[in-house]
């Protein structure tokens, strides 16, 4: 187990390095002069040159890259010119809302998706299974902003039960926090839940045909033990993969949903920084998202090993 873990972690380092290089190159090859964007069209050539000097834009590109990397290793992602604060601080400020939203959406998705997917697989071909499949298909095809807008119309405009948009941090009280997050979380959770449920169903269908399921039934075990103890754990690897992916996607910022509900999360930070040409923020945020992907993947790998002993032993 320890060996397996170490191997996984070491294999992540080159991935992160490649991501950092690509991230840097893309941002720096994008046409547009940050200095002129920031100073506006009235700026004189002199002012522009001075700012470029200040921003380090006159240095050769590889020098800038190494400066950036060295900064990262010291926990410094750069400086936001527009917000006039360190990039790490800007990210930190926007991370809270995104994490809250992601976790809540994922909890909603998993809570419904797994039991429903399992039930559908157990009753394969029944009306329940078929209507489930239709709803899951619908959940995947409906855009989350559309669901979000309808939720707003219904619960905020029509009934006036929930605030239409905005965000309140957890420190303002859990109830208040959830009041603002529940609608965006549902509109995100439906899509993710539909994906997870479909994977649960198909993975369970496969596992239920396995011989060891018949062995479990031949022991006289109750149906729910056969399903949840013997089948689900075996079916869980592909389900976990989908959950990990969906989590990573949401952490990367649910740009549209954050915009619809006006939530100051990572998605909004990226959009605003792109509009403002706040390069160091974009660069830092992209790197942070990539690191989050890698980290979530690592967690998923660890969970694989926990769920399936063959992963634990074979690869050590």
């Amino acid at each position: 187990m320890g060996g397996y873990l170490l191997k996984r972690i070491v294999s992540l380092l080159p991935v992160l390095l490649v991501v950092a290089i690509v991230d840097f190159i893309i941002i720096h090859l994008t046409p547009g002069d940050p200095a002129s964007v920031m100073l506006g069209s009235q700026a004189t050539e002199e002012e522009l040159a001075k700012l470029r000097e200040q921003l380090g834009l006159t240095l050769p590109i590889y020098t800038r890259f190494f400066q950036w990397i060295i900064g990262i290793l010291q926990g410094d992602l750069g400086w936001s010119i527009f917000m006039d604060m360190p990039v790490t601080e800007a990210i930190w400020e926007h991370l809270g809302p995104t994490l809250s939203l992601t976790i809540l959406a994922e909890i909603i998705a998993i809570l419904f998706a797994i039991p429903l997917g399992v039930m559908a697989a157990n009753r394969r071909g029944s009306w329940m299974d078929q209507s489930f499949m239709t709803f899951a298909m619908l959940g995947i095809s409906l855009p989350s902003f559309w669901i979000g807008l309808n939720l707003i119309l219904l619960f905020a405009v029509q009934f006036n039960w929930l605030p239409a948009a905005g965000y309140q941090p957890l420190s303002s009280g859990i109830f208040n926090h959830l009041k603002y997050l529940i609608m965006p979380a549902i509109s995100l959770g439906i899509m993710q839940g539909a994906l997870i449920a479909r994977m649960t169903r198909s993975s369970m269908l496969e596992v239920l045909n396995e011989n060891y399921i018949r062995t479990a039934e031949a022991k006289g075990l109750k149906m729910w033990i056969v399903t949840y103890k013997h089948a689900l754990r075996n079916a869980f690897i592909p389900i976990l993969t989908v959950i990990g992916l969906s989590f990573a996607t949401l952490v990367g910022g649910a740009v549209v949903t954050e915009t619809v509900f006006n939530i100051p999360g990572i998605g909004k930070l990226i959009v605003n920084s792109v509009l403002r040409r706040d390069y160091e923020v974009i660069q830092g945020t992209v790197l942070m998202i990539a690191a989050a992907y890698v980290f979530i993947n690592l967690i998923v790998d660890i969970l694989y090993a926990y769920i399936d002993p063959r992963v634990r032993y074979d690869k050590s």
């Binding site: 009753r123 045909n209 011989n211 062995t215 031949a218 022991k219 006289g220 075990l221 149906m223 754990r233």
Partner: protein, 336 residues
Amino acid sequence: MTLLKVKNLKTRFSTELGEVTAVDGVSFHVNAGETVGLVGESGCGKSVTSLSILRLFRKHSGTKLAGEIFFEQKELLTSSMEEMQEIRGNQISMIFQDPMSSLNPVYTVGNQISESLMLHQKLSKKEAYEKTIEMLSLVGIPSPEKRVNDYPHQLSGGMRQRVMIAMGLCCHPKLLIADEPTTALDVTIQAQILDLMKDLQEQLQMGIMLITHDLGVVAEVCDRVLVMYLGQIVEEASVETLFENPKHPYTIGLMKSIPTIDGKRGEKLHVIEGMVPSLHQIPAGCRFAPRCPFADEKCRSHPPDLIEVSHSHKARCWHHERIGIGGGNAIAIGNQ
């Protein structure tokens, strides 16, 4: 005492090509303490017969069961799911054909055995764990107190089959159904496992239904034999009678497939010509006619019944009087 009595069992599956009857009117019984062999080539319906007894088909698979199955006084096909769960693994145990895929890969073997003990014998976790180690040692697994914490993939095929046997026997069932329990194993282990089953049978007065395609195994351990072909029983007799005086050409064909003493075990010396037909194309007359050296017009058009040819010896062949083995070298004679 009759433990199991199966009457006119029919098992139908719906497939893409239409419905098939994999087991078609099978009747037999197993007494307490007795070992009954069920033999036939692969695909004849042996496994389906055994799965039908415990009704181990998925609810939505469209499998239909008909007939009657009495276990002691209880009719199984009309029993509720709860009643079946009470019998499964407790009164009737099954050992499955493929030990590689029949154990759950994500739980230790100890977990999988003690699960049965906690369920049926109401043992505590600790008691079940101790009993599990005892069972593992009983089936000849070395250092059972270590192996109990192993996962199936850490064990060899022979060890896994022993685990399956330990699992099948741990609740002292009255009837053990063993589906090709030794096919995947090499000869020495095969013999060990068969001996073990016989030993336990004597201790527990257990009835055994032993499914195999190997008549050599039957000769070693069975009291009575059922020969199955394409979903039907074609011959039934005591072991002695069957080997001395087989009355069905299919049985004789199977016997010729038994390797001789000097030939290596598992090396088939003779194979019955042709293949088992598909369930979608069951011959109109005798089901064995397309492969039978004695088939005539009557055989091809009229299906024979399973009839008593002598005391407790049944065969399903129009020409059973003219069929037998000659010269002690297991060759069918037919004076057509």
